[in-house]
């Protein structure tokens, strides 16, 4: 396919006149860099990496995205991929119908925690259990960002939201759901991972997860799932710059990052902890050497 986009290419024939940042380069599968997300929001970072992963796998011209309802819905106009807008919570079923009629397409959903874990929990669980050959992407910030910071089913204990002002209390508000862990235990789920975008290392790792999830679908191995912890300083009522650390110390301590299920094998929380320590060493080593292998 000669018209396949090639990805951002830096001109290296002459020395650059200024330092380039990743943020300067628009992913080819994005029609515009304009958006209405708040400063410090993690969702555009997640958007960038899954679009880059699609492009790098060479499947941009056979992809159908199904969007849920949340802040990220604003990207439906700017993502240059065939797209179906679903109702709040219902994207996995819409993706199921699309995939069954277009089995050669890479069909994936984009949903938030309010959309997927509150409103549409049974949709994603049934789709995973069925082993539907689609990929569900969860942007998990533990809060209803679009309505202004309300408690979701993934808000961690102690988290302050507009309807848990003194912090989420298990006795009164109930416990949270670790959705990735829940899905990993379903037989139809082939690949389950939980990434994050709170630092460059986490972004690079999350991109690898997207690649593996899409490959799982391409190989027809079953349901694949990538959960991405994203910053929402507005909905967390903290200074913008504190988002990544707050995320790491609160959500990140409860929703443990890592590949929860690979090749049908579910990992324990201890194994994920060990992997995370190893990954941290890898990142620190890479930073000392002056760069990260993205």
């Amino acid at each position: 396919m000669s018209t396949e986009p090639t990805g951002p290419v830096l001109d290296t024939t002459s020395a650059p006149d200024h330092a380039r940042k990743v943020a300067d380069l628009k992913p080819d599968l994005l029609l515009s860099q304009e958006h209405h997300m708040c400063p410090g929001c993690g969702e555009p970072l997640a958007l960038r990496v899954y679009l880059e992963a699609l492009q790098e796998l060479g499947v941009a011209q056979r992809s159908i995205m199904v969007a849920g309802i949340g802040c990220y819905t604003a990207f439906t106009s700017t993502v240059d991929v065939d797209l179906v807008q679903a109702l709040h919570g219902r994207a996995p079923s819409v993706a199921t119908g699309a995939k069954r009629m277009r089995p050669d397409a890479v069909v994936f959903t984009l949903q938030g925690d309010g959309d997927m874990v509150n409103e549409g929990l049974q949709e994603v669980l049934h789709t995973a259990a069925r082993g539907e050959k689609v990929t569900c992407i969860l942007l998990n910030n533990g809060v209803f960002g679009e309505t202004g910071g309300h408690m979701t089913a993934t808000s961690v204990l102690g988290q302050r939201t507009k309807n848990s002002l003194d912090g989420r209390d298990a006795e009164y508000h109930g416990y949270l759901i670790l959705i990735g862990d829940l899905i990993a235990r379903l037989q139809g789920a082939a690949y389950v991972a939980r990434g994050s975008v709170h630092n460059a290392g986490a972004v690079a790792r999350t991109k690898r997860m997207f690649r593996r999830a899409f490959k799982t679908q391409l190989h027809g191995e079953g349901f694949s799932f990538v959960e991405v912890l994203t910053m929402c300083p507005t909905g967390w009522f903290i200074p913008t710059g504190d988002g990544p650390d707050y995320m790491h110390e609160t959500l990140g301590e409860v929703h443990i990052m890592g590949e929860l299920k690979v090749d049908g094998v579910v990992k324990t929380t201890e194994e994920l902890h060990d992997e995370n320590v190893a990954h941290q060493r890898e990142v620190e080593g890479a930073l000392e050497r002056g760069g990260l292998d993205r």
Binding site: T3, E4, D80, V84, R90, P92, G97, M101, V106
Partner: protein, 376 residues
């Protein structure tokens, strides 16, 4: 597309004949959840669709069934779902939005009696929407109307509901499923197949009136008004009705669906006995054949409405008969750019102009044009 149909006449359960008719019409996707008396339709489609390269999913709930059909429709496939009215209650949110996304969904309601008339014709979902509703009298007509349903859904890009019931689904009749020919339809140049990623020309199937960046999009207010205008066209063009003996009838009986077959039998019997009794059967419950009902009942002393419920269609008969009353709507759709708030119609001056127009010119007066939200 190969039309697979049982062309020989044979004794068939209504559910099977409807399944064959759906497949003959090109339906290749169905998702449903068992519920009496709809279950057999799901059973037949689960058996028959894979045989023609289609898919039938035993959805885990009605909410998921309609969502799956939504996804299949977005790819351009002919797709359907169904249940009883109780199950359709769960699907109403999706019905509203599928209508706004202009997707050609076909819905089968194998209803428990005729208690779902309001649900079918008014809808239990949010927003200004209508489904075309076809109410077959018997299995032979259901075979035709099922195929018509898929055609009309595509023609208008609007959902069509086939209103059946226990009798239609479970009675055996000798029927043949003949494929019906319809005029050619425009290509589905809105459907997604995944092939346009990265071209700058990717597609967006949405109920929200949005478009891709750099492409023209109506915005929510104009989108909602376009849908309303389309519904007006459907109302004008798609009314279907059967009438008999109404010219000199002193009593006209109005009925729809399978009970209408019983009513028609009784009216025929009474006519044979010399009684001046007439019969009207709306075949489309929406758009309601109001003009025909009004005409058929114009000379009658009594309009009797027979329906298997506490009285729902009777409202439409009343509206049809009273249609010459001097009632006129002077409101309209008006939203802000987001679709969440109110638009410029909610303005004392604008309202005043509309009140004055009908005060001076009566119910037939031309109203000032609806103000347009400048911020799109």
């Amino acid at each position: 597309m190969t039309a697979v149909a049982t062309t020989e006449r044979r004794l068939m359960e209504g559910s099977e004949a409807i399944a064959d008719a759906a497949i003959a019409a090109g339906c290749r996707f169905f998702a449903g959840y068992p519920m009496t008396p709809f279950t057999e339709l799901l059973e037949y489609l689960a058996e028959k669709l894979p045989a023609v390269g289609g898919v039938c999913i035993n959805a885990e709930s009605e909410l998921e069934a309609v969502g799956m059909a939504w996804g299949a429709l977005a790819t351009g496939a002919r797709a359907a779902t169904g249940s009883t009215g109780q199950g359709l209650s769960l699907m109403q949110e999706s019905f509203s939005e599928i209508t706004l996304a202009e997707l050609p969904l076909v819905v089968f309601n194998m209803a428990r009696g005729q208690q779902d008339y309001f649900q079918a014709t008014r809808g239990g979902g949010h927003g200004d929407y209508r489904h075309i509703v076809l109410a077959p009298l018997d299995i032979a007509e259901a075979v035709e109307l099922t195929q018509l349903a898929f055609h009309l859904a595509d023609r208008w890009r609007n959902p069509v509901l086939v209103y059946g019931d226990y009798l239609l689904a479970h009675t055996h009749e000798a029927v043949s499923v003949e494929p019906v020919s319809f005029p050619a339809l425009p290509p589905k140049d809105w459907a997604v197949d995944g092939s346009r990623g990265g071209s700058g020309d990717s597609r967006l199937v949405t109920p929200l009136g949005l478009g891709k960046h750099g492409h023209e999009a109506p915005g929510i207010e104009r989108h909602l008004r376009t849908i309303t205008a389309k519904l007006t066209d459907i109302e004008r063009e798609e009314q279907r009705v059967e009438t008999a003996f109404c010219d000199d009838a002193e009593t006209v009986v109005v009925a729809f669906g399978t009970p209408a077959k019983f009513v028609r039998y009784v009216v025929n019997q009474l006519r044979d006995e010399g009684e001046k009794v007439g019969f009207v059967r709306p075949i489309t419950l929406w758009p309601y054949p109001s003009e025909a009902v009004a005409e058929a009942t114009a000379g009658a002393r009594t309009d009797a409405v027979f329906e298997l419920c506490a009285g729902q269609m009777i409202d439409d008969v009343r509206l049809a008969v009273l249609r010459r009353a001097k009632i006129v709507g002077i409101g309209g759709i008006s939203t802000d750019g987001s679709g969440f708030g109110v638009g410029p119609l909610l303005d004392a001056e604008v309202i005043r102009d509309r009140v004055v127009a009908v005060h001076r010119g009566g119910a037939g007066a031309e109203l000032p044009p609806l103000p347009v939200n400048e911020r799109g």
